[in-house]
């Protein structure tokens, strides 16, 4: 009952925050596709949390920069962003007409994504939170056993590769009401640097072509999750200051603290 009250308060408070829409996820027992430290399946308990319905959009990031110009590309310290940071934007604070305002913001570093989430009184999801949310489809909380669904995600992922992401929320919501967890963009997660897809990959950004070309499969006990493996492999090649045209983010909030 107490948890329900929290959910309600959270939903109300999120509705009050300009534009940011979060939904509550119940959490519970979850077996990650990512292998544990000894290579075995990991059964985890995910605490209830709330997640942003869609990735942060260009329009939302513009509003953030207007309030926090420290994170604009002409001011951000060198250690927190690479040369690719928001490089396709028309100006430091405006994306310009060529980029759809309702598309997910990309070309942002992990540092800037963190700062954005903090501005919404939220934080980046952990890998497990993200994976748990993305395990759902439109009917089931855990649809990962469905080969047709897995194949569809993989096809959508491959099709979107190399194209600029379109607007958010063009897909049907999953059972929690979340959009765009597959096929639109890769997403930063808070602990991406500590996922260790290979036992020796303990330096973020030190991943190599082996990791990108399938070495990360070694860290998966469920090798049917190819799209998920690609996601981990790509994240493992990044440094936190990196940014790419296909990498966005969304935020989560803790419930009940």
């Amino acid at each position: 009952m107490r948890a329900l009250c929290w959910l309600w308060v959270l939903l109300l408070s999120s509705a009050a925050m300009a534009g940011a829409s979060y939904v509550a996820l119940p959490g519970g027992r979850f077996v990650s596709a990512l292998a544990g430290n000894r290579g075995q399946a990991q059964a985890l308990t995910i605490a209830p949390f709330a997640m942003r319905v869609e990735p942060v959009t260009i329009a939302e990031f513009e509003q953030f920069l207007a309030r926090n110009p420290y994170w604009a590309r002409d001011r951000i310290p060198q250690l927190l962003a690479s040369a690719d940071y928001l490089k396709d934007w028309a100006s430091p604070l405006r994306a310009g007409a060529a980029l759809p305002a309702s598309a997910p913001v990309t070309q942002v570093s992990w540092f800037a994504a963190r700062a954005y989430c903090a501005s919404e009184d939220a934080h980046l999801p952990s890998w497990y939170q993200w994976e748990y949310a993305a395990a759902a489809d439109t009917r089931r909380a855990d649809a990962r056993d469905d080969d047709a669904r897995n194949q569809m995600i993989l096809s959508a992922t491959l099709q979107s590769t190399g194209h600029a992401p379109g607007p958010v929320e063009q897909d049907p919501a999953n059972v929690y009401g979340l959009h765009n967890l597959a096929g639109l963009v890769w997403e930063w997660v808070d602990d991406y640097g500590a996922m260790f897809p290979r036992p020796d990959a303990r330096d973020p950004g030190q991943g190599n072509s082996l990791a990108l070309c399938g070495g990360s499969a070694l860290a998966f006990h469920d090798r049917g999750q190819y799209a998920l493996m690609m996601r981990v492999a790509i994240l493992s090649t990044l440094k936190p200051s990196d940014s790419t045209a296909s990498l966005g983010f969304r935020c989560v909030r803790t419930i009940g603290e």
Partner: protein, 191 residues
């Protein structure tokens, strides 16, 4: 009043950080958004107030029984080797990435157990700001485990007086010759 304070804050943020008159370089760790720390003696300070002399910086968590004591041991061995080579002990800052559990009393106890004294060797927790940003620039990552521990790496980084990253070494390894040389070179150039 609130409006004026906001305006003042905005003005402060827009001014470049300076050390003894010169602005900090663009790749300085001290240019991160403000991070407030407290050390084992209860001394509060801002991270960027440490600019002005070379320093070793690393991260840890208090209830760590394996890697973190090793990290402290490596720091002590580094100090011994520097002194043996004619240098002087270098100031060290270790920042906890587990501020939730590492309270001041824990830092105090850890300092006592390992015979660590501030200000030369500061064990600290973050009281304000995002410790994750510091971890990111230092190449230190962690992931909480269900038992309260963390999967993490341990890196010691040498910063110059302006906060630029000069050298790193894995804190689980014995002192590396190149790392010691980099520290000595900094101390010599400061003379």
């Amino acid at each position: 009043m609130y409006k004026y304070l906001l305006a003042l804050c905005a003005l402060c943020l827009s001014l470049p950080l300076v050390v003894s008159g010169a602005p900090l370089p663009p790749d300085s760790v001290y240019r991160l958004p403000p991070l407030m720390l407290v050390d084992q003696q209860g001394q509060s300070f801002a991270l960027d107030s440490l600019a002005g002399q070379p320093r070793l910086i690393g991260m840890f968590y208090g209830s760590c029984h394996m890697v973190c004591p090793l990290e402290i041991d490596t720091v002590k061995k580094i100090q011994q080797q520097i002194v043996r080579a004619g240098g002087k002990p270098i100031p060290v800052l270790l920042v906890s990435f587990d501020s939730r559990h590492d309270q001041l009393s824990d830092l105090r106890q850890l300092a006592r157990e390992h015979h660590i004294t501030a200000p030369l060797f500061q064990l600290t927790r973050v009281t304000q700001g995002d410790v994750g940003l510091l971890g990111g620039v230092l190449g230190i990552s962690w992931r909480a485990l269900p038992d309260g521990g963390f999967v993490h790496n341990a890196v010691l980084t040498l910063l110059d007086d302006q906060g630029r990253i000069l050298a790193r070494q894995d804190a689980q390894n014995p002192p590396q010759a190149e790392f010691i040389q980099a520290i000595l070179a900094q101390q010599n150039s400061a003379r």
